[in-house]
Amino acid sequence: MYEEKKLEQIKSSFKDWDEEVGKQLGKRPEMKEIFATGSDKTVERLYTPLDISELDYEKDLGYPGEYPYTRGVQPTMYRGRFWTMRQYAGFASAEESNNRYKYLLEQGQTGLSVAFDLPTQIGYDSDHALSEGEVGKVGVAIDSLRDMEILFDGIPLDKVSTSMTINAPASVLLAMYIAVAEKQGVTPGQLRGTIQNDILKEYIARGTYIFPVEESMRLITNIFEYCSKEVPQWNTISISGYHIREAGSTAAQEVAFTLADGIAYVDAAIKAGLDVDDFAPRLSFFFNAHNDLLEEVSKYRAARRLWARIMKERFGAKKEKSLQLKFHTQTAGSTLTAQQSDNNIVRVAIQTLAAVLGGTQSLHTNSRDEALALPTEDSVRIALRTQQIVAHESGVIETVDPLAGSYYIESLTNDIEKEAMDYIEKIDNLGGAPKAIEKGFIQKEIQNSAYKYQMQVESLEKIVVGVNKFRIEETEKKELLKVDPHVELMQKKKIERLKSIRDNDKVQNTLDVLKAKAETEENLMPFIIDAVKEYATLGEVCGVLREVFGEYEQSVIL
């Protein structure tokens, strides 16, 4: 970006400056020998044009809305429209969650985000033995289409976009959503939203898997194929680095492992006979926002550029939308502290800035009390207000990609991209992400980072305010949300009742068909939809598939 001669001059003047500073260090020493990012990347005292002398503006940055999309996927970004402010919510019963959604929509939220309880996420009904104690705890319990009807009661599904954090049984919940819409008179073609549907990161980091890798990948490509024809506005997968980061990865690892998973999905879909440009525009991503503002901004920019290059060069995608990495962001749950929990409001604000300066398409901000329990309504409101303050008061949205051109930001963007590329090459050599997961490679890399971080916190190399420094004795009781313990009983009763009023012969029929089709190579989506419409329960549908597919066995290397 700079003339050769100018660079030579800068090189020499920088050397002078650096020497001068070096001399003064005796008198005025720096606080640490080595400075580092939140992810432990070494940071220099100063960045100059010398650090980005190789940068080619048009090739490496370009313009917003243009390849390689480093500066953003839309030309006008937030001047056109803010990101979607989407708070992940859902707890206890469908009835209570429905109330919370209506409240959030009234408060100005622009999209819904459904959290399911763990039994639902693992394909067990509320009356399954393993569901004991878990029903309605981390999200809403959905056992059948009946619960889904209650969940979206009075919410017009042609008007809102709905994001569902569901993976292993994503096909079943999507089927229920389609069925509910139909009852509202809304066609699949009108539906907008996202299912997470990212099983690889479940094996890596989140743990709510059901089926073995191959069978899970089949269900995912079934969804890709079905939606590309029937539900064209639906984002069929949200390839998630969020949980990888929560599990303790570094920023660069988050990019690397997420994009490696992305590559695996694209490979699988192509192998299943789909054209890359038919499904790639519906791929979306989901990243974390940590506290190191500048590293996070660089991370998003690096991810965008690298994905565009991968899609173009590796997969030969042609459509612009296939090349664009669009992403949802959630602020980092793992950075929230139980100690002095109001401090979390500040952390979330910084993380919000990072996501926005990094060009996110939608954002969930965590509530201050989430290291203690599920958030109260007050806490959720503050979290949403944080986004609104950044949008309306901070000024960072007035121009597109305002941090571009910063020597540090560009240098760090390059760095993260490079480190991620090296990882992806390693994973390719292991046979791709599924194989690397099976061998425990990715998990091991993440665990090493997590352990290193923990040790740094314990040795005070990294400071967490209120945890290892600036501690106080806290006596004041905080008001926390309590989940009604009767939800489990209530759900069990609902299932019992449902089973007594539905047409059980029809249910069995659809389940038998689904089982038979699972043995073939046919797309399972239509048969799953048939089953849920007859009020087959989630556990019954997943149970049939468990019989045919078997279950995944955890790969742990410690």
């Binding site: 763990l118 039994p119 996420q121 693992i122 067990y124 033995a129 393993l130 569901s131 004991e132 104690g133 878990e134 705890k137 981390v138 479940e202 980091a205 989140r206 743990g207 709510t208 898997y209 929560e246 599990a247 303790g248 793992s334 929230l336 502290t337 139980a338 100690q339 290291a371 203690l372 329990a373 599920l374 665990q447 997590a450 352990y451 923990q454 916190v457 314990e458 967490v464 945890v467 290892n468 009781k477 905080k478 926390l480 989940v483 955890q554 742990v556 410690l558």
Partner: protein
């Protein structure tokens, strides 16, 4: 040679967030303990069966889903039913302060919430093992 303390590190319930469990497992290993790691989705019955066969000194469990009030005491109860009184039972994870007295009363002797240094857990184990 001192006999190493044997610890069962278990994830009862359905949540898959095992960062904490794994970090603790490693820290205990590095502190010279023998850690038996059981993996995800363990029922209280499985945890107790493993504790019996492994003859551990400590059962350390982690839950982030909010199911602790149900699952932790159940493990303690089943241990007692097996006649095991000399095992130290610990719990960790996202556990609201209000729940801690109840859990302690139920026999979960150490409760560790987010932000606890691993050293603290190690010291607690060393100071409280019963065998």
């Amino acid at each position: 040679m001192d006999k190493p303390i044997r610890v069962l590190v278990a994830k009862p319930g359905l949540d898959g967030h095992d960062r904490g469990a794994k970090v603790i497992a490693r820290a205990l290993r590095d502190a010279g303990m023998e850690v038996i790691y059981t993996g995800l989705r363990q029922t209280p019955e499985q945890i107790v069966a493993a504790a019996v066969q492994e003859d551990v000194d400590v059962v350390a469990m982690s839950i982030l889903s909010g199911a602790h009030n149900h699952l932790f005491p159940k493990v303690v109860r089943l241990l007692k039913e097996e006649g095991i009184e000399d095992v130290l039972v610990l719990g960790g994870g996202v556990i609201p302060e209000d729940d801690i007295p109840g859990l302690k009363e139920a026999g979960v002797e150490g409760i560790f919430t987010p932000g606890t240094p691993t050293k603290e857990v190690i010291e607690f184990i060393k100071g409280n093992v019963k065998k």
